[in-house]
């Protein structure tokens, strides 16, 4: 029984700091239309199941899943919400297709961050109500703690992290969908204020709005409906400890485990050789570096040198966040993984325009759910079936 699963259609609307013209329903409808057109299918006739990715407090509505089916064409069909990252949603669709229950599943993720007037307060609300909130810190102190430890272990500097911001904002200039495309010098970035030392405000991805719909299909159906299925070769996801007090601050164990799971499924023995490029978490600039170490694409001793050599630039040995990452595209919160997946699909199809990489075959996509979580998911994608 061939259990392979491929991405057969993508569509998106965005990304920009605000999206006043359209409600979230309308934004998702527009993205869905494009995805279904890309896959050459009719949702009412062809799509068998649907998944939405959303959290109540991001939406300002409880039981938000109520408001998800209409704009996807999912009325009276099997639809559920995953309260997780977009990659968790995509992975859930992958599991459903592998189970044999469905052949075509559509997944939706979106951000209307501009509608949340105090997003910091919502992040604060994710902290433990008894042990952490009474301390009254700005919630992004957690990133400050983690970055501090990262700099200590890797001997990277604040300027090295600024260079990651510089790279991603520069990359965004070639991405027509990016919200924050700028040439900024390291000096300009380093002159920003510290939010939570050593984390500079300029190291934090700014929020953006947008909607993304991705269609997955079983191998048999994928080959019928598209000439360019993008194959999901491996998936992995993992949680670590929720309490701040119990977690490891010097490494991202959950990213290591998730990657291991995905590499094992996709038969990747040597990530830096077997993978051509990666779209990974950079909500805080230092996390791109820390994540690369956890993914086995660098180690603690070499990461600083690799950053300084420009290894991760589009023309470097291992392009990371060619799309601009969340720093350049905008932070779409739980929809980030969907944006990264779309980028991987466009690159692997050879239609990424000005930022197209040279003949990539295998991509790694990874995302993190943000502070204060230790929740991550990883996918390995390829344009080659075998």
């Amino acid at each position: 029984m061939n259990q392979d699963v491929a991405i057969v259609g993508v569509g998106w609307e965005g990304f920009s700091p605000t999206s006043v013209d359209y409600s979230y329903k309308e934004l998702i409808y527009l993205a869905a239309n494009k995805a279904y057109h890309d896959a050459n299918i009719d949702p009412r006739r062809d799509v068998e199941s649907f998944i939405s990715v959303a959290e109540d407090f991001f939406e300002g509505t409880s039981i938000f899943d109520e408001y998800t089916p209409d704009q996807l064409g999912a009325v009276l069909k099997p639809m559920h919400t995953i309260t997780g990252e977009a990659l968790h949603g995509l992975i859930s669709a992958y599991l459903m297709i592998r189970s044999g229950l469905f052949n075509i599943v559509a997944v939706e993720a979106h951000s209307k961050a501009s509608n949340i007037k105090s997003i910091t307060e919502v992040t604060r609300y994710a902290l433990d109500p008894i042990y952490q909130r009474p301390l009254n810190f700005h919630p992004e102190f957690v990133a400050g703690l983690e970055m501090q430890r990262f700099l200590y272990e890797s001997k990277c500097s604040v300027a090295d992290c600024s260079s990651i911001v510089q790279k991603n904002l520069h990359n965004a200039l070639s991405n027509p969908s990016a919200a924050y495309a700028f040439e900024l010098s390291e000096k300009e970035l380093s002159e920003a204020d510290f939010l939570a030392y050593p984390l500079l405000e300029s190291h934090i991805a700014k929020p953006a709005d947008g909607a993304i719909v991705i269609v997955l299909a079983s191998a048999e159906v994928a080959k019928q409906i598209t000439k360019q299925p993008i194959w999901i070769k491996g998936v992995g996801w993992c949680n670590d400890s929720y309490p701040l007090e119990y977690r490891a601050w010097d490494e991202l164990r959950y990213v290591q485990k998730a990657a291991k799971m995905a590499y094992s499924q996709s038969h990747i023995a040597n990530p830096i050789e077997n993978i051509d490029f990666a779209e990974i978490d950079d909500i805080y600039a230092y996390r791109e570096a820390l994540t690369l170490v956890a993914l086995g694409l660098a180690d603690e001793a070499t990461i600083r040198g690799l950053i300084r050599e420009g290894c991760f630039y589009p023309e470097g040995k291992f392009p990371v966040n060619v799309s601009g990452g969340s720093l350049g595209v905008g932070n779409l919160f739980d929809a980030n993984g969907a944006q990264k997946t779309v980028e991987a699909v466009l690159q692997l199809r050879g239609i990424a325009g000005a930022r197209q990489l040279n003949n990539p075959r295998t991509a790694l996509v990874q995302s993190w759910r943000g502070i204060p979580t230790t929740s991550t998911a990883v996918m390995v994608l390829s344009n080659e079936e075998k």
Partner: protein, 388 residues
């Protein structure tokens, strides 16, 4: 098609109480511990964890699934939370089912939890935010409204009386007197008690409703070869179905839950069931309000439209009847910690089909059971069929 076989091999739950001292994470831990102990497994044996819990607003924690993760045993494991409002309790086992049926995992832990008592002054107020933020919330709607509107429509369409509907509450609460974890079991409750209770939102009266509660339930799913190693009485998940209707609930006739029918048909087809009324031996429809049990029985195709009440009037719905309904005591009797309540029905069918339901045991060696939950704005039906 050849779907992989998936079985329930263990189950456990906490008591359902009005307010527990335990934190949400402790509630989850207790249920998971009970489930693991029931089949003598350790958390190390578990390959992946699926969790369901309803609105974060009750607990007052954003990304509540993350907060609950270590209590759920998800440390170092693949972990995902699913959410379909009140339907979550019967959806999360479906989520666990597709984890195992995918072939990626052999042992999956499924947990559902609710701690509604944290919300101040009363959990009901939290439901204001389920309504459309622009077209409905300015009217300051109340959760009771939608149930009362639906109950009224149902009663009027089919000419069913309050006296008749009260029988449902009576049967379920009496059944719950035999459930060790129940909050509202009452061996002596009568129709008069229900009809004399305070009118909240006519036609809904206080004893027509299940109350806010805290609690958690956990089950363990296994692939076929692993299930047989763990127990000689695996209970198979034979059918799964779910369906979500349009958010525009004011554009639909509320007299009939068509989304429950669509979900049920999907499950019956997968289970190969052609005559549900003959082949289903126990039904656990979702009963947050007494009339809802009737509504859902009809959606499940176990009675004709408007006729579910006859199962109660004839005694067929009793534990010793032809088609026992909610032998557990349901939400009306055991309690309604939203997501946990649905999973409680799955646990009940697990125990019933193994002959381990103690004083609640349905006689005659039942072979197949159906559990169903409902949620959102009269929108989602989630259905699981289990068999020996």
């Amino acid at each position: 098609m050849g779907l992989r076989k998936v079985a329930v091999v263990g189950a456990g739950m906490t008591q359902f109480v009005r307010r527990a001292q335990e934190t949400p994470r402790e509630l989850v831990f207790k249920a998971v511990r009970a489930a693991l102990d029931s089949c003598e497994l350790s958390i190390k044996d578990i390959d992946a964890v699926c969790l369901g819990t309803a609105p974060d607003t009750f607990d007052g924690v954003h990304m509540n699934g993350e907060y609950l993760s270590d209590g759920a045993g998800a440390f170092g494991k693949p972990y995902i939370r699913s959410y379909v409002g009140g339907g979550t309790g019967v959806f999360v086992p479906i989520q666990g089912w597709y984890h195992v049926a995918s072939g990626l995992f052999d042992l999956v832990l499924v947990v559902a939890e609710e701690k509604m008592s944290s919300y101040y002054p009363h959990a009901q107020g939290a439901f204001l935010t389920i309504f459309d933020h622009t077209t409905e919330r300015p009217l300051k709607p109340n959760l009771l409204w939608i149930f009362a509107l639906e109950m009224n429509r149902y009663m009027s369409t089919y000419g069913i009386t309050k006296e008749e509907i009260a029988q449902v509450s009576v049967l379920h609460k009496r059944n719950a007197a035999d459930h060790p974890a129940a909050l509202l079991g009452d061996k002596n409750i009568t129709v008069k008690d229900v009809l004399d209770s305070e009118v909240l939102a006519w036609p809904v009266q206080r004893l027509d409703v299940s109350p806010v509660s805290d609690g958690a339930v956990a089950i363990i799913l296994a692939s076929e070869h692993v299930a047989r190693r763990i127990t000689d009485k695996p209970i198979w998940i034979e059918g799964v179905g779910w369906s979500l209707d349009t958010a525009y609930w004011t554009n639909r006739d509320l007299a009939y839950p068509r989304y429950v029918e669509v979900a049920a048909r999907m499950a019956y087809e997968m289970a190969g069931i052609k005559e549900p009324r003959k082949e289903i031996h126990i039904a656990e429809p979702y009963d947050p309000f007494d009339y809802k049990a009737l509504h859902h029985i009809e959606g499940l195709q176990l009675a004709d439209r408007g006729k579910a009440i006859e199962l109660y009037l004839s005694g067929s719905a009793r534990r010793d009847g032809n088609l026992p309904i909610c032998p557990s005591g349901g939400l009306l009797g055991v309690g309604n910690p939203i997501a946990a309540a649905g999973l409680m029905k799955i646990a009940e069918l697990f125990w019933q089909l193994r002959g381990e339901a103690d004083k609640r045991q349905v006689a005659g060696s039942p072979q197949k059971g159906i559990a169903q939950a409902w949620g959102d704005l009269m929108q989602v039906g989630t259905v699981v069929i289990m068999g020996k």
